[in-house]
Symmetry: C2
Subunit: 345 residues, 2 copies
């Protein structure tokens, strides 16, 4: 199994990205192709010392930054690390691609170079969120698509269910539709139109509406929402967590007694914080593309890339992609899911 | 100043509600009219002992529970505590109304009995959220309206700005439009259509898009969103806070050393938790009605009702209502804000 890794994407590229990829190649029995500016990549590899076999380098002379308009940057920079890495996958020279770079550029690259699974109208961006219950929840779409239609949400629900089953080994993963109430008549036009469609999908363990309050508590395995709403949830999640952790830290420095308490509780609190850390999750798929493409958090360090490549290995090794094709085909054009917007864009 | 208090609304009614109202009447120089089942109310008053002057009782024989369909319950139960309390305000026998009861029923009562300020198309539900910065942010709409139109958001922004200025005494309160990015072209159809309208409102300190991540950090005084999105933010906020507090509590019991640390840090952590507590905020207005109407959290105890009545006093005492009328009139029918949907429903 070969994974193309964008060595230039993310706040800590290329050093931390390369370190995580090299460690993953050593531990997971996979090959990695580091895509990026060759001198920089070689310098990092030299710094790391002993490089395991199965670590390759593919030169790419340009980098797309997160500050650039994604579509324009992608079109202009033909030799960007993202474009080169995605082409390796498209051309069969790699089985999957991982990047911590510009989300917008990854989506464009995915749609243009990898294209959507036949029948999939809109690929979605997924975020695995930590929960109180311990096991993460798969939230989607978290920003790839706004003003979505009911059929989009149905396809995302089906694909995320396949992902939770094959990659996370969840048994009959439960799927909830994010809504501001649990009664049928609650919600907006989109949720009310999507509810009956999701109920009709054979084999899907759809459990109805789920309130945003219950998602961080672990009420469902998969939470489906329009990309605007999913992104708002994800960012509210991040904002509240950051504000609260900051306040706890402050409280534990607010006086000599509290400080001593904080010192004693430090280990336990750090362990707790780790449970809700991005680095543990590692990477999230761009669901709906014809080839496995993964996104790591922009602030990923070596540990996150390492964890991310373990997720990629699970995805590629467990036939997730063929299951996605099968289940999307099963939804069928009869139900009106055949139109292929993305590939005609 | 007289405030009608729904003695029967909320999880801890009537005991805690009445206690909070009686304490407020004693401390804030206001009169309260306790609306509810007379025997129950009188029994609670007797239990409390010495009752200050200015505490009145208005009988209401029925109660609307949160499990009932709001519109139907409101229509069927003509003598519900909510309906009786709202009628007192409509008929000029009270200056404001406060309830911790069914949000849906309060919205129906507000629209039917109090009606909207001339020009206001959709009254909105507000939630004051605690922030890292210490001072709360006003988030609206948090669920009264879904599938909103740009004009609705503009009216909410203007009204919330008046509220933050007159009730919270913020100087030129900053107003942000909740969005999943800060560049003009980011967002969905609604945010992109609302952005230029908000920029044109004279006198409004509109600071552009605000990301949900920055709201709990205190980036703006007012955050405006469609009611579906606002409710998702509010409930994600609650869910994440509850999950994290639970995890911190667990971590501080996870072993003898951590437990000792937790014991020492207890006071500081409790003080911190208080800063993000509903009871401190007390009550939120239903913005856009012709009379002051407030909602307290369903789980309110005496302290929350007490704090809530202090907010009501600020609202009534600072001419907030006349400012709302003035600013909405200033937006003007020329801008297309004249249509009065609610009052024609």
């Amino acid at each position: 199994m070969k994974v193309a890794v964008d060595a230039m994407g993310g706040d800590h590229a290329p050093g931390e990205i390369i370190q995580g990829a090299v460690e993953a190649a050593r531990d997971f029995g996979i090959e990695v192709i580091l895509v990026g500016a060759e001198p920089a990549v070689q310098a990092e590899l030299k710094r790391l010392g002993k490089i395991p076999p199965g670590v390759h380098v593919q030169p790419a002379s340009e980098v797309i930054s997160t500050h650039e308009e994604p579509a324009m940057a992608f079109r202009r920079k033909k030799d960007s690390s993202i474009a080169v890495a995605y082409r390796l996958v498209r051309d069969g020279q790699a089985d999957a691609v991982l990047s911590a770079g510009s989300t917008g550029a990854l989506l464009v690259a995915g749609k243009v170079l990898l294209r959507a699974i036949p029948g999939v109208q809109r690929p979605a961006l997924v975020a695995p969120l930590p929960t109180r219950a311990g096991k993460p929840v798969l939230l989607l779409d978290v920003g790839a698509n706004v003003d979505s239609r009911p059929e989009h949400l149905v396809q995302w629900a089906v694909m995320a269910s396949v992902y939770a089953e094959t990659v996370w080994r969840r048994n009959r993963p439960s799927v909830g539709l994010v809504n501001i109430g649990t009664e049928d008549e609650k919600g907006n036009a989109l949720t009310r139109a999507t509810l009956p469609l999701l109920r009709q999908v054979p084999g899907l363990n759809f459990t109805g509406y789920v309130e945003p309050r219950d998602v961080p508590l672990g009420a469902v395995d998969v939470a489906v929402a329009d990309g605007f709403v999913g992104n708002v949830m994800l960012k509210t999640f991040e904002g509240v967590a950051s504000a609260l952790f900051g306040m706890v830290r402050e409280a534990l420095k607010s006086g000599p007694v509290a400080s001593l308490g904080g010192l004693l509780a430090k280990g336990a609190l750090r362990q707790m914080a780790q449970r809700v850390d991005y680095a543990e999750v590692g990477a999230a798929p761009l669901l709906g593309l014809r080839h496995p493409a993964f996104k790591s958090h922009g602030s990923s360090k070596a540990r996150a890339i390492y964890s991310g490549l373990r997720v990629v290995r699970e995805f590629v090794g467990n036939q997730t992609m063929s299951q996605l094709h099968t289940q999307i085909a099963r939804l069928g054009p009869a139900a009106g899911y055949g139109e292929d917007i993305v590939n005609n864009e």
